[in-house]
């Protein structure tokens, strides 16, 4: 960038002028359209969420958030994200490393499978878990069988009231499924672009596998990884479809924040619903801020 007021002749100035050769009305039209869209579809709904949330005053707002049902939803959401994000983080790094640094049979199949949760509707994902782990599914058939294989396992599971669907494990599973690709998808192109030369050099110089990973690979991908984690977390906390199928929607027990918002809305408690929704909106804003910061850092690393 040229500082304002400078007389320095910038070599690529003519090129820049060329790119701005459209008449002013075209430029204004383009910028205007973009801004109108952003205003209508992003800013306005966001403002609406917050104005609705405070429609009955600040006291009602905090009352809506600080009550047992809301707290239970917040805790469950944090728990589901707290389990699924680290797991997907580990998986994402493993998968990206395998795909970017090695050649093996079935690599393309793995790449395609990682994308599966993006192409499958979340509701279908939830239903699959119900069909597999529900009492009419495989797990149910096993637990209710008269002569199950491994009887001690069946008895132990039954004695401990082992449940997946309509309980916390099902919600965690569904969350893992829908957030599965975020970290891997972020890292694969990055690691492919970086190539294997640095790792190979480290190996030649005598580093062990772990040393290569901790000292060479990880520092190279850390910003990309963080970026993936942020996106993964945002999706984990906001997921509605898949979780709604496996939750059973027991209030105070298996309702996550998005399901709690739906319940409040259906109770005609619109203000309460928007108050809790504002938490998710805040999360989105924080995510956006972090994302911009990480992108900035990442770009700096890549420029280096």
């Amino acid at each position: 960038m040229t500082p304002a007021g400078t007389t320095l002749h910038v070599p690529h100035h003519p090129a820049r002028r060329h790119t701005r050769s459209e008449p002013p009305y075209v430029r204004r039209l383009l910028i205007g359209t973009a801004l109108t869209f952003i205003g209508l579809f992003l800013i306005l709904p966001l403002l609406f969420v917050f104005t609705q949330a405070f429609a009955k005053g600040i006291g009602f707002y905090f009352h809506s958030i600080d009550e047992p049902m809301a707290w239970s939803a917040i805790k469950l959401t944090l728990l589901a994200a707290g389990i699924s994000v680290p797991l997907n983080c580990v998986f994402g790094v493993c998968a990206a490393w395998a795909i970017a640094k090695f050649d093996f049979y079935g690599k393309n199949v793995l790449l395609t499978l990682i994308d599966l949760p993006f192409s499958v509707s979340p509701v279908i994902a939830g239903l699959i878990y119900v069909l597999v782990f529900g009492t009419q599914g495989w797990l149910g058939l096993y637990l209710n069988a008269d002569h199950p294989a491994l009887p001690w396992l069946a008895n132990w599971l039954n004695d401990h009231n082992f449940k997946i669907i309509y309980a916390v494990p099902g919600i965690v599973l569904a969350t893992i499924f829908v957030t599965f690709p975020f970290v891997a998808r972020e890292l694969i192109p990055l690691m492919q672009a970086q190539g294997r030369s640095e790792e190979e050099a480290a190996r030649v110089l005598g580093a062990s596998g772990w040393q290569v990973f901790w000292r060479v690979t990880l520092p190279n991908i850390k910003w990309g990884l963080l970026y993936g984690v942020i996106l993964c977390n945002a999706r984990a906390m906001g997921e509605f479809g898949a979780v709604s199928v496996v939750s059973g929607k027991i209030r105070g027990q298996t309702n996550t924040i998005p399901l709690h918002i739906e319940a409040l809305y259906d109770d005609y408690n619109f203000t309460g619903a928007f108050a809790v929704a504002s938490l998710l909106a805040l999360l989105a804003l924080v995510t956006l801020g972090l994302k911009t910061w990480v992108e900035h850092k990442n770009a700096a690393v890549l420029d280096k």
Partner: protein, 332 residues
Amino acid sequence: MKTFLKILLAVGITVSAQAKDVTLLNVSYDPTRELYTEYNAAFAKYWKGKTGDDVTVNQSHGGSGKQAQGVINGLEADVVTLALAYDIDAIASQAKLLPADWQSRLPNDSTPYTSTIVFLVRKGNPKNIKDWDDLTQKGVKIVVPNPKSSGGARWAYLAAYAYALETYGHDDAKAKDYITKLYKNVPILDSGARGSTITFAKNGIGDVLLAWENEAHLVLKEFGTNNFEIVTPTISILAEPPVAVVDKNAKHHHTTEVAAEYLKYLYSDEGQEIAAKNFYRPRNQAIATKYAANFTQLKLVTLDQEFGSWAKAQKTHFADGGVFDQIFQPQN
């Protein structure tokens, strides 16, 4: 620190020896949210007085058919309070969680309160909808949920069909013709009663909502009588939403006794009064008389009298390829 923990533990044990904490899960249909919020508090007080135990009743709400499917797939309800008997029959037959004769275990076919289907229209009734035949006029937009997933929607469909049967001398072809015309005026089907109510009342779509009587009254309460009014048709169906203990789940949770009492207390004076206050028609005559102002008199036909039984109605009308599938074409 260790002694402190021991004291805490000891206190915890003595407390738990005095009063048990019991938890029940009531899996219910869509519009009963307000009813059971009030009833659960009343029952907890009653049970505390009777046994000294604290009972917490957790609620799950949704379309009746969907909720039954949840229980079949492992949603561990101690009691179900659904919109119609067929959904509890499904739990009995498909998952064998309760005996097939569950409906004979409590008075009035295990239905402590009844309801019916009425019309909710916008203030001043701009489309002048008075009775069922006004619904088939051109340009009337009807909001009603999907009978495949919603119990209220099945009652609404059967109420309309029963009207046609009564009007056209039980001529099935004419009744089918009427119901076809009616559903031509339905632009969208929500999955549950509450979804339809919000579509109609909050989002301002449609001219008339075919609603549970209790749901229609609740809209007047929540959205104000300045915006909506209830139209009671000359004839409708006696909707009987039954209740049952899910034996296997209750046994598993050691809650059989409290679950049975929870449902029995619905028939008590207090339970009936809470039902009436929430615009469910109570079975108790004295309380029905006391709250007569809440309920408009109309001719109510029963399901058994018009359609034989739920199993038959389900097979003819709502099963895949049944009458509803033949007559309803989604319009895009």
